[in-house]
């Protein structure tokens, strides 16, 4: 048996399997460790197992095999202790719309047993930190989608959790509302050092806000790393070179570029040269050498790294469907209607 160091990873997942009867393997052996104080993004196509993983970690579902622990507490055997430490925002809307925002938090504060002396203060703090203090006494059914989401986050951070699980925190929101939700989450995280675990479809959010990204597909972990590492790993950089008008570039230079070992393709259009390479930094000197040798004037030169979308397609592209599955569409529509 290997030496366990539970302090090292706040969340520790080993060989996690979840089978939905009869034979859907939603999680097919996930191994993953998440360090404290980080923002961790889980990416994957629809049906990849993202929500199932969050629901196992938040003690809602029992895994079929394998184990997961938070702070060294097993999510099955120590479920009650785990629940007292975590904040959770489900994918679907999770507040009562027929009472006010303040009342929503108050009820949760009571369920979580916050002492009466500090209850009101903490409710107001949570509302203020999410920018909702001005709407506290309005019925939630009058809130916009973004405000409802912020209220849900406020609810999750009411107990100042050590870790927050956010299942698609910004689904169905417009860009401004998405930004607002994230800014508030980041401020809270900075203040309390909370670890954040979130699922998302939005690559830009994973790129902008996460410290580490895991891509899962068909219940398996296919790639793990920072956004930079992931982009680097697929080796699909593009170098663009602007040549002076009337330059004599032609098939000959393209052929010479293509012959380079680091180059996978080259093209010329409107005096702009496009060179597809594995890694821009290492390929650049050789490309420039060729152009100098041919006596071509270089006006500007730029290297484009792949976006996270490219990364996602490279690792999980094979199982992408033509569209989101029906259940998801319905649940999003419902939220739009209600929100």
């Amino acid at each position: 048996m290997d030496v366990k160091r539970p302090e090292e990873n706040l969340v520790d997942i080993r060989g996690l399997v979840k089978v939905y009867p009869p034979a859907t393997r939603a999680l097919d052996g996930i191994d993953l460790g998440i360090k404290a104080g980080r923002i961790f993004a889980l990416l994957g196509p629809n049906g990849a197992g993202k929500t199932t993983l969050v629901r196992v970690l938040t003690t809602q579902l029992r895994p079929t095999a394998g184990q997961a622990s938070i702070f060294g507490l097993d999510v099955v055997r120590k479920a009650a202790e785990v629940r007292a430490l975590i904040g959770y925002v489900p994918q679907e809307m999770s507040v009562w719309t027929d009472i006010t925002g303040y009342e929503n938090l108050l009820i949760y504060a009571k369920i979580y047993g916050l002492p009466a002396a500090v209850r009101k203060k903490q409710v107001w703090e949570a509302l203020e930190s999410m920018g909702l203090a001005g709407f506290a006494k309005a019925l939630v059914k009058t809130y916009s989608g973004g405000m409802i989401r912020r209220l849900e986050v406020a609810c999750a951070l009411l107990i100042k959790p050590k870790i927050m699980f956010l299942d698609e925190p910004t689904i169905g929101l417009d860009p401004a509302a998405r930004k607002a939700v994230w800014e508030k989450i980041l401020t809270f995280k900075k203040e309390f050092g909370t670890t954040v675990f979130f699922n998302t479809h939005y690559m830009d959010e994973a790129d902008l806000y996460s410290d580490e990204i895991a891509i899962i597909d068909r219940g398996r972990l296919v790639k793990l790393g920072t956004a930079e590492e992931l982009k680097h790993s697929i080796k699909r950089d593009v170098i663009r070179v602007g040549l002076g008008t009337g330059s004599s570039a032609g098939e000959k230079v393209l052929a010479r570029l293509r012959a380079l070992r680091s180059v996978t393709g080259a093209g010329l259009a409107d005096s702009e040269l496009t060179v597809a390479v594995g890694d821009a930094e290492s390929a650049l000197p050789a490309v420039i050498d060729v152009l100098r040798d041919e006596g071509l004037p270089i006006i500007r030169i730029s290297a484009e790294k792949p976006t996270l979308d490219d990364v996602f397609l490279a690792y999980a592209g094979s199982s992408l469907q033509s569209g989101p599955d029906l259940r998801e569409v319905r649940s999003v529509r419902r939220q739009i209607r209600q929100g």
Binding site: Q60, A80, Y88, E92, W96, I99, I107, Y108, K110, I111
Partner: protein, 253 residues
């Protein structure tokens, strides 16, 4: 301790909801009021049903009160189906409280709603000339019985909601439960008038005991079966709470 505070929070939630919007309580009161105003007054003029000397309208008032509260609690399961479709149930299940306390908290909340319902119908009955026994303690005890019965039926409704995962199917099942229970109890006529088969069913029907207890407390003053009645209701509640708590896990998977 944890469970108690969740139950109280669920009750508070229901009271706060009612404070913001009471339309549902009013609209739900229409049907029972029709039973009293139309059916009750017409049937009393015929005097065909032996009620032991009690005016017929007075005789059916406890039954109508119970029917309307049971209606409220059976359809309370619908709010649970709704809370499952949204993420509310998931969030409650991730709170550090035992799951059975969520179930019992919900049934208590439905009891609260049921009592408000009764408080709207009772004055209508008084206006129609129903003579309640003028003892506040009796009235309070009757409300407690309503509350307990309603809790048991709310638990049935949670049980049904764990199996019926869509609202439409739930509506159908709800109707199919309530009306037979109402007709198969002593709410509208004494059990002795029923065909033998229905009498046997009525003996197993918790509503029979509830009607008997509430009628004794509010109208007839005959409390000779009161211990048996409350015993039956408490047993019914206990069984339903256990079944609902066990099935509750299913509701989110």
């Amino acid at each position: 301790m944890n469970s108690l505070r969740e139950m109280l929070a669920m009750m508070e939630l229901e009271l706060r909801r009612l404070r913001h919007d009471r339309t549902e309580i009013y609209t739900r009161a229409i049907q029972p009021i029709l039973w009293l105003v139309v059916y009750g007054t017409i049937m009393s003029s015929i005097r065909a049903i032996p009620t032991g000397g009690i005016p017929y309208l007075d005789f059916i008032t406890p039954g109508v009160l119970l029917q309307s509260t049971v209606f409220v609690s059976v359809f309370y399961g619908l709010t649970i189906v709704w809370e499952r479709d949204t993420g509310i149930l998931k969030k409650l299940l991730v709170a550090p409280v035992p799951r059975y306390s969520t179930v019992i908290g919900k049934t208590i909340a439905s009891g609260v709603r049921a009592i408000f319902q009764a408080l709207i119908i009772a004055p209508v009955a008084v206006l129609l000339g129903v003579k309640f026994i003028a003892r506040p303690l009796n009235f309070l005890a009757a409300l407690v019985v309503l509350f307990l019965v309603s809790g048991g039926f709310a638990a049935i409704s949670i049980l049904v909601a764990s199996f019926m995962k869509t609202r439409e199917r739930f509506m159908g099942i709800g109707q199919a439960i309530i009306m037979p229970l109402f007709f198969g109890s002593s709410a509208l006529y004494p059990i002795k008038m029923m065909p033998t088969l229905l009498q046997r069913i009525a003996v197993l029907n918790p509503l029979t005991y509830a009607v008997d207890a509430v009628r004794g407390l509010m109208i007839s003053g005959d409390l000779s079966h009161f211990a048996r009645d409350t015993g039956a209701i408490v047993l019914f509640d206990a069984v339903m709470f256990v079944l609902a708590s066990v099935s509750f896990r299913k509701i989110i998977e």
